[in-house]
Symmetry: C2
Subunit: 353 residues, 2 copies
Amino acid sequence: MVEPQRRPTMADVARHAGVSPTTVSFVINDRPGSGISEYTKTRVLAAVEELGYRPNQQARSLALRRSRTIGFLGYEMATAPFAGRTISGAHDIARHHDSMLLIAHTSPDIRQVRRTLDDLIERQVDAIVMAVIGTRRILTPTNVNDIPTILVNCYTVGDALPSLLPDEETGGRDATRMLLDAGHRRIAYLAGLPGSWATRRRLKGFRAELRAAGVDEADATVLFGDFHTESGYNLTKTVLDGDSIPTGLFCGNDRMALGAYLAILERGLRIPEDISVVGYDDQEELASILRPPLATVRLPYYEMGQLAVRHLIAGDVGGLPGRTYVPCVPVLRESVGPPRSHDLPRRAGPATG
Amino acid sequence: MVEPQRRPTMADVARHAGVSPTTVSFVINDRPGSGISEYTKTRVLAAVEELGYRPNQQARSLALRRSRTIGFLGYEMATAPFAGRTISGAHDIARHHDSMLLIAHTSPDIRQVRRTLDDLIERQVDAIVMAVIGTRRILTPTNVNDIPTILVNCYTVGDALPSLLPDEETGGRDATRMLLDAGHRRIAYLAGLPGSWATRRRLKGFRAELRAAGVDEADATVLFGDFHTESGYNLTKTVLDGDSIPTGLFCGNDRMALGAYLAILERGLRIPEDISVVGYDDQEELASILRPPLATVRLPYYEMGQLAVRHLIAGDVGGLPGRTYVPCVPVLRESVGPPRSHDLPRRAGPATG
DNA sequence: CTGTTAGCGCCTTCAG
DNA sequence: CTGAAGGCGCTAACAG
């Protein structure tokens, strides 16, 4: 390995241009009202160009006591499906403000989180966003108090830290409305895990929207699964075997919707001609690539990432309420169509073609 | 906003412990052979604890000329499906060496890349990994020469920079062997885009493995699609409508395999009883969540991320060959089973649940 | 309009 | 075994 030759410093540039370091600093930072002559400025910039000088931001932050770096701390986000969205959102806003993201994943173990947070703080990040996949309450170490922090998709006891959460209830309403708007009245909700934060809220939205549309609750089946494909598959079969087959299915998430697709096809039925399906999450590389593409409600990971950094950079984290609900985005796709006018046979024949 | 009170510095700790800053530094860094008495050490550490002192790594890197930070530059990786894996791999190794990842995405526009690279360099990252999703050749700005750099999943003209690439040919062989091992002899390859880097190599592997197994090439159908679900669906239908229906399908990627699933189900056939299916990529949240779970070949994104950082930290990037091929990992799942002993009907009846 | 000087917080050679 | 002094590269008063 060749030792990389020492990078030129501001002093080098100054010498080269025949001015003082201060002048170089002023020119580099385009300091307003520091009246540097055009001539000097040109000379300095020429020297910069010639030497290939690039300011050392570490030294700069040391002097400014500001690193323009934001720490992104993910609880178990390693391979998680939505991690990328959150990071992207945070990244894009950060870049927009000349900041960068320092990333660290950790297990939820409080000691490990504490250590990681310390590492981030030692690196002088200006602020921190803590994120998880799958909304839940998390434990935060005490050292978070040393630095502006915002939580994404999670919250903490007593809302000690401001958090950004998806507005699942409205999302549940939106999903339901997609089906109602298409004309469906017999709708089943194949929900995810009954105990989960998300399920409770989506279900509430589902019921509220049906009520608002004047649909008889008796027409609305609600079954619980566990967010996995298999449970979507099984629940769909159950529903298809029932007395009153729904014309529209609202699934606990996109994976369960996939299970529904498989069960429906296996029965020789078609989507959306025979049954319409709506998912939840808008899982990238799933909802959009299904055939037909799956109508769903997008979890606002990207938006939460953006919003978090926006607040952090604005420095108004202190004024934020304990919880901020970020809207989910309904995404209408071809898996929703008008309901069939007549009832389905209990057992369909083979699909032809 | 309350102005965050000044963080304690090394001098504060020194004063508090009644020693000199140098001593504190020695204790903090556990400097070998600097013989600090146990007593002093304890006192210093107590002071550290009491004041909540945390060393300023920025200042440290300034003095050491080493930031223990690695820049991760993604070409258009914002929402990409595998980005997370690569980042995770890089992250995990970095953390293991007390380093962190500074992340930046950019469009492939050379000017933007250049700017982003400069930003990373100005922040004094020790090294850089440049990554893309979907193997391809990229343009790199000239300023990469200023810092150790390694490419992941991409390469550059004349292999000016060392790159890590998936070994697609062996992957193609592995996928094919999964089917051969299960007993299949009539196998179709529903490939992706014919021109793509990956397709060419996987196809080569497919042919090589068949040849090695002594399978008549005439028994091996090869059709080209475009990596999308729809093309997998269509090609599968084509194949199912053909004279000699294959018992095993090797798909261009997992998305196409999904299309194959849908077409197969629609025909009233079952996986793997009637037809076995193998994908490629092991796309997270797709291959594993299908029903039955999809056998596939995992692209080594995580491993490439790891390897990149490992080399960067070891500082042996200079000794690396132009291209290093990283093995893909075959993942056998339930979509592969033994072939049926008798031929399938040209049109199957309905499945009976 | 430009240069001098004193830090920012830490590391390290060299004395003692 | 411990401390003093200088430097890493940049910024910011304050002079001139």
